[in-house]
């Protein structure tokens, strides 16, 4: 299968993206966001869950939690490129909500097939959900939780936005094979310990299961997980790309307005070229993001490869855009009152979730270097075009 020239990003996707951009700008502009999540400014502030549940209900009402679910399962069935467009806007707004984890959960559930129907209906109906499987190293191994005798036992780490979610999709090991269980956060035996994290726009927890009664969702968990992984990577990459673009635009505006030595900062090539390099990095990440999302829609055989590229690129870009935003803002960028830190912290959080840049490059190398046909790399004829 081949990808359409326009990534399959049609008018409907554009309307979704533009609408989301307006929604976030209207409902929680950055000054209000700062007031919401950064009112407490101590370094040792402890865990916090700052968000607007009423906005979440509006988002559910707009159908956003069912976007990535095919119509067969009662979802909206938008293409991945459209979902990615929405998530870019979530990132641009650094919006605190359980949308990202919930969409990740629906991606996995959808891959499980019919057995997940009930769970998908709950998420479509507004139950926020999050994935529960990472071990203490942040790896998506199967060692964290075991499933035996109808019960879950173990502890998962780095559960994203657990404080905003009602349901957990637990990936557990049953005799070494994965099973997935749909668990109510309030169920007997579930303990949620909130983390004190750097990121002010998200929350995170470690969740322990002690003899939690659960039954696996029917379906092939192994293959569902493998198929869903590129979706998880693409979703968080979209958040990072959107946040990076905010950092770029905000820093560009500062460089236009702020004067030193009787010149706008942007006059100085040290600043100008830094910002151009950030733009270039963002564009690489964004192009790879839409290419990977489009592959999920149209070219599944290349989705994994392109999603590795997208997440690796987006992670590096997130770190770079954050770093340059603080540096180019100078002194004010180093203060709590400047909004840049909200994005800086969100980006440093996203950067390492679901595999960092190096990990994705290592996995990519297995596809491009170790596989017989390195023809997977479609080269650009550099000499010709640059000549």
């Amino acid at each position: 299968m081949a990808q359409p020239n326009n990534y399959g990003f049609e008018e409907e996707a554009g309307m979704l993206k533009d609408g989301a951009k307006r929604f976030f700008a209207d409902k929680l502009p950055v000054d209000q966001l700062h007031a919401l999540v950064a009112h407490e400014s101590t370094a040792e502030r402890g865990p916090a869950v700052n968000w607007k549940p009423e906005l979440w209900q509006e988002m559910v009402g707009l159908g956003w939690t069912a976007l990535a679910v095919p119509e067969d399962f009662g979802g909206v069935g938008m293409p991945w490129v459209a979902v990615v467009g929405l998530l870019e806007e979530v990132g641009r707004a650094a919006f605190p909500s359980p949308l990202l984890p919930t969409l990740q959960v629906t991606a996995v559930l959808t891959q499980l097939g019919g057995g997940a129907q009930a769970a998908l209906e709950e998420t479509a109906g507004g139950s926020a959900a999050t994935l529960a499987l990472m071990d203490a190293d942040g790896e998506t191994s199967l060692t964290a939780v075991s499933y035996a005798d109808g019960k879950l036992n173990g502890t998962v780490h780095f559960v994203q936005d657990a404080g905003k979610c009602d349901r957990l999709l637990v990936v557990a090991s049953q005799n070494g094979s994965p099973v997935m269980c749909w668990v109510d956060k309030a169920a007997e035996g579930v303990t949620v310990e909130a983390d004190a994290i750097v990121d002010l726009t998200r929350d995170q927890a470690r969740v322990s299961f002690k003899n939690v009664v659960a039954s696996p969702i029917a379906g092939n968990a192994q293959s569902a997980w493998a198929a869903a992984e590129p979706m998880l990577w693409v979703l968080i990459s979209a958040d990072m790309v959107g946040a990076s673009e905010w950092l770029l635009q905000t820093t560009v505006e500062y460089a236009q307005q702020r004067k030193q030595f009787d010149r706008p900062l942007g006059f100085f090539q040290a600043v100008k070229h830094d910002l151009v390099n950030v733009m270039v990095a963002i564009d690489e990440s964004k192009s790879l993001l839409y290419s990977a999302a489009c592959a999920l829609d149209h070219e599944p055989e290349r989705a994994r490869q392109l999603a590795h590229m997208a997440k690796s690129s987006a992670s590096d870009t997130a770190a770079f855009a954050s770093s340059r935003a603080v540096q180019c803002h100078g002194g004010i960028g180093f203060t709590w009152e400047c909004y840049v830190h909200l994005y800086f912290k969100r980006q440093k959080h996203s950067q390492f979730l679901w595999g960092d840049a190096s990990a994705h490059r290592a996995a990519l190398a297995e596809l491009l270097v170790d596989r017989a046909g390195s023809d997977a790399v479609k080269g650009v004829a550099l000499n010709e075009a640059a000549a």
Partner: protein, 411 residues
């Protein structure tokens, strides 16, 4: 179906089928002469003759200049040059030799010349019968192009030209030159005018072409000296003093950011041509051992190769995304990155390839034991031509910062 064709209009689909058929029947196969990696590297008359014949055949078939009006020798089609290019590239045909003519002179003439001049110049330009070169840079006018000093003095209906141009690729083969001149010394930008000049006819009579040798030891560039060369005023493009604006049209198309799609073939990957790509570097690493282990199995090398493979894929996807308005916020944001990214990627690929080769990267073209025939050190050195010529990387970043991001001008 290829990536592109699913969006073809009926007219495009029909033209694509025609092109594919024509190429299948007329592909010249492995060329009888060793071809260089790009048109600007053409060294011998033999190479040039072969490639001119190929361009003429493609032109006669309507695959070159497809989008230009018939009145100026074009194919009179709409948005079809891209189709022909895609089919040519896919079929790995040889490239067209008249690269300066097609990519820079033709669109400039099209947008700025009189109808008579268009009709006179474009047909033989598109057919490749007349080769073009570019006279912009001077020893004192590199990044600061507007400081050109080559001067044209008005004498009646003629202009008398004196000065010195450098980096003129293909000048030794060229029939015509696009030439940026100073016609007024009192205004920097508004003192420039733009001409087309029949230089072959003037060789030895007011025009001297001398080869410049690159750090690689290759020739390919030239310097061109003008001594009292007389040029008719009818060869001026656009108004007197508008040379800078005309030159912007040229540069926009040179950067691949212009309206008109440049006819392109050049997918040829013959045995003799070298391919600077992540795939080529990966293949090199597979075939290079160090201390008994393939470099492709070295984790650090793998990481670095993947960094470049990702940049390469991103660049390719940038090119695609640049045509999707809903996914770009500024129409020039992606096109203006293209040259910068390509040239720096080529440089980094070359540098990494040399590291993979290790001490064997010291072996050059003339050495029978050189890996890949010494093409990697050659490619690495040549990459500086890309990062310097046609606006250095530093100038490209200025342009992006100023035109796309709206930052204050750095000069």
């Amino acid at each position: 179906m290829s990536e592109s064709e699913r969006k073809d209009t009926p007219q495009q689909a029909e033209f694509r089928a025609y092109c594919r058929d024509w190429i299948a029947r007329n592909h010249p196969g492995e060329p009888p002469v060793r071809l260089p990696i790009a048109a600007i590297e053409i060294m011998s008359r033999e190479q040039m003759d072969y490639l001119q014949a190929w361009q003429k055949a493609a032109y006669d078939a309507g695959l070159v200049g497809s989008d230009y009006p018939e009145a100026v020798g074009g194919g009179g089609r709409k948005d079809c040059q891209r189709i022909a290019n895609e089919e040519m590239v896919a079929a790995k045909t040889p490239f067209y030799p008249n690269i300066i003519g097609l990519g820079m002179a033709a669109p400039t003439i099209f947008y700025h010349a009189s109808e008579e001049l268009k009709a006179q110049l474009l047909p033989k330009l598109l057919s490749g019968e007349e080769i073009w070169c570019q006279g912009f840079s001077e020893p004192g006018a590199g990044s600061d192009l507007a400081s050109v000093q080559t001067f044209a003095e008005k004498k009646g209906d003629k202009w008398v030209i004196n000065g010195h141009k450098v980096w003129t690729s293909l000048a030794h083969f060229a029939d015509w030159m696009i030439l940026l001149l100073r016609t007024d010394k009192s205004h920097k930008y508004d003192g420039l005018s733009y001409f087309v000049v029949p230089i072959k006819a003037a060789l030895g009579k007011g025009v001297t072409v001398r080869p410049l040798i690159k750090i690689t030891g290759e020739t390919g560039f030239n310097e061109v000296l003008f001594e009292n060369l007389e040029v008719d005023d009818s060869y001026r493009l656009d108004e007197l003093g508008k040379g800078w604006q005309v030159a912007m049209t040229t540069l926009l198309h040179e950067r691949g950011a212009g309206e008109l799609v440049t006819p392109r073939a050049g997918g040829l990957k013959s045995k003799s041509a070298h391919n600077t790509s992540a795939k080529a570097v990966i293949d090199l690493a597979r075939n290079t051992d160090r201390a008994g282990k393939a470099m492709a199995d070295d984790s650090v090398t793998r990481d670095r190769m993947m960094r470049l493979a990702i940049r390469e894929e991103g660049l390719k996807e940038n090119q695609r995304r640049s045509r999707v308005a809903a996914l770009t916020d500024h129409p020039m944001r992606l096109p203006l990155q293209n040259k910068l990214l390509m040239s720096e990627l080529a440089q980094d690929l070359g540098a990494l390839a040399m590291e993979i080769e290790g001490p064997a990267s010291s072996l050059y073209l003339g050495d029978p034991n050189a890996p890949a025939g010494g093409q990697w050190p050659l490619a690495y050195m040549n990459s500086y031509g890309f990062t310097i010529a046609a606006g250095t990387s530093e100038i490209q970043r200025n342009i992006l910062g100023e035109r796309v991001l709206g930052l204050a001008k750095s000069k």
